[in-house]
Every structure is written in structure tokens, then in C-alpha cells.
Symmetry: C2
Subunit: 351 residues, 2 copies
DNA sequence: TTGAATTCCGTGCACGGTAACGGAAATTTA
DNA sequence: TAAATTTCCGTTACCGTGCACGGAATTCAA
């Protein structure tokens, strides 16, 4: 029933006058083949357009290949929990036949735990790795080790300057800031004041997606509301009370401000204050579909969220690796910028 | 390396004292097995938690299974072209190992071509079918034939009252109308006038998603802008000039109307008129990411689009069928309401 | 009781590829 | 030149299922 006769390793053996053992050796570059035979086999493979049968290969190999995922521990309600849910999806679907997926987690505030996770990962001898470069420098050196070991890797969320990765899946960060500004202002020109709530970062040398987002945001504002005052308020994610009082103080001084934005996934941190001080005309925009954020969106406290699909990023990363591992196929694009979802209270339910 | 020793059909044969041939016969219910042996085998299968090896199975069978897709012909730039693109995705990815995907197309305005496509489809003896119920009654009877033949099927886009389908993937239509209204008004209360552009339908007994959308839309308006006048204008998709003149006439009479909406994928039909008569304060909302619609969005003529993912619907439908065909696994949910994307000029580029 | 028809089951090959094993041929060494 | 290596290649036994074939055991008919 197949459109064309599937050609097998035996066909190649026959056509070259060699045995399938030899053909297998050239297919997997494991040496012990003379130059002449090698060329002959390669030629016939080209001519016939041979493609190995994945089932047979997997069946013979017996073992499934491991794809390791290196991400921060997914505390409940955090951004990385969303990514982790993609692991199950990737592991579940038929999309990953012959591939096992295993997460290696670390504390995103503890660089030693990161190093530790890297080592554990390498010991597991994965055939491919998915990783999010939180610790920039460490990630680059780790990528070096992977390269040395001949293990392909795919970045998600953001990526370092490196160039040896198989693929990247993430959000266009600058653009997301731009979109964010449009959502915050509702397309209105000449907004006169905006509050940007930011998180104090004590961790060093981390890759910070919010920098690019803020840049995009500010460029939009410059174009559409050049006179706008952009206020900054820094809060500490570990200190809810302090956050609350800081917001109290800030709005005491700027009572007329109607637009509030945060560039990371933690808009939920300021929701308690906002709900204690309701304002019908206020617009609040944040990022990412954490459950706490979604709740606030449903209640109307948050006007809209800009969400990426960390689970899809993981899924696509795994599928890309699977395709590469099982059939040595390179992805069509190295850098894959993914769609940004706009979430409002009216489309959040079927998310 | 596998977590637990994989148990095979031979293990079962040994444990039951029967041969693998017999085990195979009970696994596939193809008879010629005594009641006693059958029970014994089933018992051991339960105990050991046997799961067949997909590779070996596929390898032995040799042929991959066919999943047939029954959709309207995808004229360039039409909604169904988007769905068709999902076929390639489904066929390409490793997601569909062992599964061939083949479209069977018909003219959505010609019921005979639909019947014809149904027959061609059945002759191909598919192991599963994906279908969109455009011709309602015909679809129901066709579903009956599928059921009779023991072929599982999955609905996309919309679904009839039937209950024998394996799964459904589609948009929550009523909700999408609600969301649409929110986008059109930008969250403003007390909009005073809206134009709903509608398409004349000559085809009968078709399932029409726009009915539910309009209902959701009108309920939103009733809640937020009870005084709003909802104007209707019917156009003929085959007559661009007539459309243009009708819009001319209508806006002659209602020059102050700033809100225009369409409930199907053809907002692009009124774009020429809109661009000839620009209005900075106008808001225009439509559905679906046809390329013509996206262009209009980029140019700012259309304010926002509400898009589903017809390609994802097809992909998920195929994967669901694959999972069922290859491993007899039922989908976690029968009815899968999918996310509605809000597209604006600022997030359209990475769509 | 014997032959024929059923029912039920085991055997063995095929599917396409993997990789260990061992041996022939070519090359090097003494 | 014979022996010791090295290079290169064919053979073969799997991997877990599917399925055709044929035979044994049982039931039925005569």
C-alpha cells in the first residue's frame, strides 16, 4: 500500500555486492570499511534514496534513547512548573517513540545545585539535552562539555551567544515588550503615566529576559506616548508585606496612575494590593500564565497577560531532538520564535 | 537501561504454558482460542501488565495504517487551507510513526462531491477518520457507516449531536462571540452602534458556527452596552462589487458607526472598502488567520482577529487516532475546546 | 467404529536493522 | 619467506510481533 517500494538495507547490500553488515557499518560510521566499499555504499544510498526503518532500528537496539531536560525545580505555581508539564506531554505522545524524557532539576538561586544537576545529567549519558540558560556563564561552559561529548542540545526560553546549539525555541522578547505596551494602553495614544513594577535581583550573571522586554516596551511608549512618565518600583519577591507597603507609599505619591505593568511572570505578587485598592479604570498587564496570574485575570484584577507556551517549547525541543537522534534530521530552522498569546478574562477559560 | 524489564509476548506464552501464536490470537481477538486458554492469557496479561511493543508490531505488519481526513478543498487563502497545513504537520512529525495521513477533499458547496469523497474514503479502508461536519445530515449518516465498519472518527471545527465519535477538537463558539465583542469594544461600556456584516448562505442544512458566535456576541453587548444598535448587512462572497456598494450605502445612512464585526473567516471581503474609507477611530474585528486577514491586520485595517488553530486541531485529531489505532488508548477527554488566540498587529508576526 | 469436519493450538518464517564473532585477505614484521 | 598483525568483510543470532500453515485433538456424522 505504500506509495513506493520501501528500500531496505538488504537492497543496498545486493546492489553493492556487499553484505548488510558492511552497509550497516558505513551507515553508522563505525569504521572497518575500505574506502572503496564506503564510497560504493554511499553512492547507492544516494541513488536509491534509502531511509532507515525506525521501528526495525529501535527494535534491534532494544533501548530507547534518553533526552535530558535541565530546568529549575518547578515549585508549584511557578513559571517552570508550566515548562515541566510539557515534559509529560512530550513523554506521553506518540511523538516520542523510542525516546525517554527525564528532567534534571536545580535551584535557580543556587549555582552549585546547577553544577550538580549538570553532572548528574552527564552521568545519565543522554542522547540529547534541552536546557534553559539561567546561569549564563555556567551554561556556556556546560554547552562546551556537551559539544565535546557529541551530545546535541536545544535551548528554550532564552539563549546565550553560543552557536553550537541544535535549535532554540522561545519568545521574541523585544517584541513582547512592544505588544505588552499596546495591551497596557489599549491602543490609546498619549498615556501620561505608567508604573513599572520590577523585581530586585540578587543573583548575578543571570540571563534576564526582562531587559529586552523593557526595551521593547519603552520604545513603544516613546512612539505613542512620548510625554509619558515611566515610574519604577522595586519589590522583593520574598517579602509580601514589604511589597504591599511599597505599593501603598508609591500610590500615595502618584494617586492618578492608572497603568501598571510587570515584565516577568510575577504580576501575581502585586495582586493583593490591587484588590484592596480597586480602581475601575486601571489597566494591569503582566506575563505568563501562572495559575495565580490566571486567577487574577478571571477576577478582572489583571487586564491581560502575555503568555508564551513553555510546555510547547519543551515539547518542540524534545521532538526536534528526537528527530535528530532517531533519523539525524536537522530542524528546518535553528531559531524558532514562538507565538505570544494575549490572554484576557474572556479567552482564559479554554487555555 | 529500561526502568523495568520489558515483558513480551513470549513471557506470557511461557507463564500460561501456551504458545505465542495463541497469545497473539487473544491479543487481537481473532478467535480460534478456547475459553479456558483465553481467560488464562487475559489473566496473565493483567498480572504482568503487558504492553505490546509498537516497533515490533509495526515492523511485522509492514504497512502503516491510514488516517483519512475529510475536509473541504483548500482553495488558496481559505480557512480550510489552514487546516490542510496541519495534515502535513501531522504527517511529518515523529508524532505519527506508523500512520499515513491522506486528505479526501470535496467542494463545500456541492453535496454530491461530499458523497463522492465519502465513498472514495471508504474504499481506501482507513483505520481512522478525521472529519469536519459541514453537511450536517450527510455527515451523520456517514458517521453511521463508519461506525458500522468499526472505523473510529474524530470531529474537528464543529460537531453534530451524535455521540459515537472518538473525540472532538474545536473552538468554544459561544465564548468566542463573547470574546469577540470584548475585543471590538476594547472593554468600553455603552458603545452605541455596531455593524455586523454577514454572509448570505444559499447552501442548506449546513452546520453554521456563526450562529453560536453571534449569540455570544449579542449577550455580551446586552450586558455591557444594552442600548447598542446592532446593524446587519448581508453580502455575497462571490460579488466583490456588490459588497462594496452595499457598504457604501450602509455607511451613507450610518456615518457615525465605528465598530464593524464579522463572525466568519471572511473579514477580508470588506477590507477594500474599509481601506478606501479610512477612519482612525474605527475598530474592526473578525475571525481566523487567513493570510488576507493577517495582511489587513498588519496594515491596521483590522483591529484584531480571533483565531483558532485549525492546523493544531487536525494534528491533535490525528494523534488521538494514532494513539487509539496503535495502542487502543482512548483520549483523556472526548470534547476538547481549544484556546482562542487574540491576534493584533503586534503579535501577528510570530504567529 | 471409522471417517470427516471442527476446533484449537504450536511452529516457523518474515519484518529491517544491530552488533558480536570469526575468518580471509592484505600488510607488516622478523 | 614464514609468522604475526592489521584491515576488512560476511555470517549469524537476535529484537518482539504478525500470521500463514499444518497438525493434533476433539466433536460430529454415518
Amino acid at each position: 500500500m505504500a506509495p513506493t517500494e520501501k528500500i531496505t538495507i538488504n537492497d543496498i547490500a545486493r546492489r553493492t555486492g556487499l553484505s548488510k553488515g558492511t552497509v550497516d557499518r558505513v551507515l553508522h560510521n563505525r569504521g572497518e570499511v575500505s574506502r572503496k566499499s564506503y564510497d560504493k555504499v554511499m553512492k547507492v544510498i544516494q541513488e536509491l534514496g534509502y531511509e532507515p526503518n525506525v521501528y526495525a532500528s529501535l527494535l534491534a537496539k532494544g533501548v530507547s534513547q534518553l533526552v535530558a531536560i535541565l530546568i529549575p525545580a518547578h515549585e508549584p505555581g511557578s513559571f517552570w512548573e508550566l515548562a515541566a508539564s510539557g515534559i509529560e506531554k512530550a513523554a506521553a505522545g506518540t511523538g516520542t517513540i523510542g525516546i525517554r524524557v527525564e528532567p534534571f532539576e536545580y535551584d535557580q538561586y543556587d549555582i552549585d545545585s546547577f553544577r550538580d544537576a549538570c553532572n548528574r545529567l552527564l552521568e545519565a549519558q543522554p542522547a540529547g539535552v534541552v536546557l534553559a540558560p539561567l546561569f549564563l556563564e555556567e551554561t556556556v561552559t556546560f554547552a562546551g562539555r556537551l559539544k565535546e561529548a557529541g551530545i546535541p542540545y536545544v535551548f528554550i526560553d532564552s539563549k546565550p551567544e553560543s552557536d553550537d546549539y541544535l535549535a532554540y525555541f522561545g519568545m521574541p522578547l523585544y517584541k513582547s515588550g512592544y505588544l505588552c505596551a499596546d495591551q497596557l494602553t489599549g491602543g490609546q495614544e498619549n498615556v501620561d503615566s505608567v508604573l513599572m513594577v520590577r523585581v530586585m535581583r540578587d543573583r548575578l550573571q543571570q540571563s534576564d529576559p526582562t531587559i529586552n522586554r523593557r526595551a521593547g516596551f519603552m520604545d513603544y511608549m516613546l512612539e505613542h506616548s512620548p510625554e509619558c512618565t515611566l515610574g519604577n518600583l522595586f519589590i522583593d519577591p520574598g517579602d509580601p508585606n514589604g511589597t504591599y507597603f511599597k505599593l501603598d507609599d508609591w500610590f500615595q505619591e502618584h494617586p492618578s496612575v492608572k497603568h501598571v505593568v510587570m515584565f516577568n511572570s510575577r504580576i501575581h505578587l502585586i495582586v493583593p494590593w490591587l484588590e484592596d485598592h480597586p480602581d475601575a479604570g486601571r489597566r494591569v498587564v503582566g506575563f505568563d500564565n501562572l495559575s495565580a496570574n490566571l486567577e487574577a485575570l478571571r477576577r478582572g484584577t489583571v487586564t491581560s497577560l502575555i503568555a508564551q507556551h513553555p510546555d510547547d517549547q519543551v515539547r518542540l525541543a524534545v521532538e526536534t531532538l528526537a528527530e535528530y537522534i532517531l533519523r539525524k534530521k536537522l530542524p528546518p530552522r535553528k531559531d524558532n520564535f514562538m507565538h505570544m498569546d494575549i490572554l484576557t478574562r474572556y479567552n482564559v477559560d479554554y487555555y
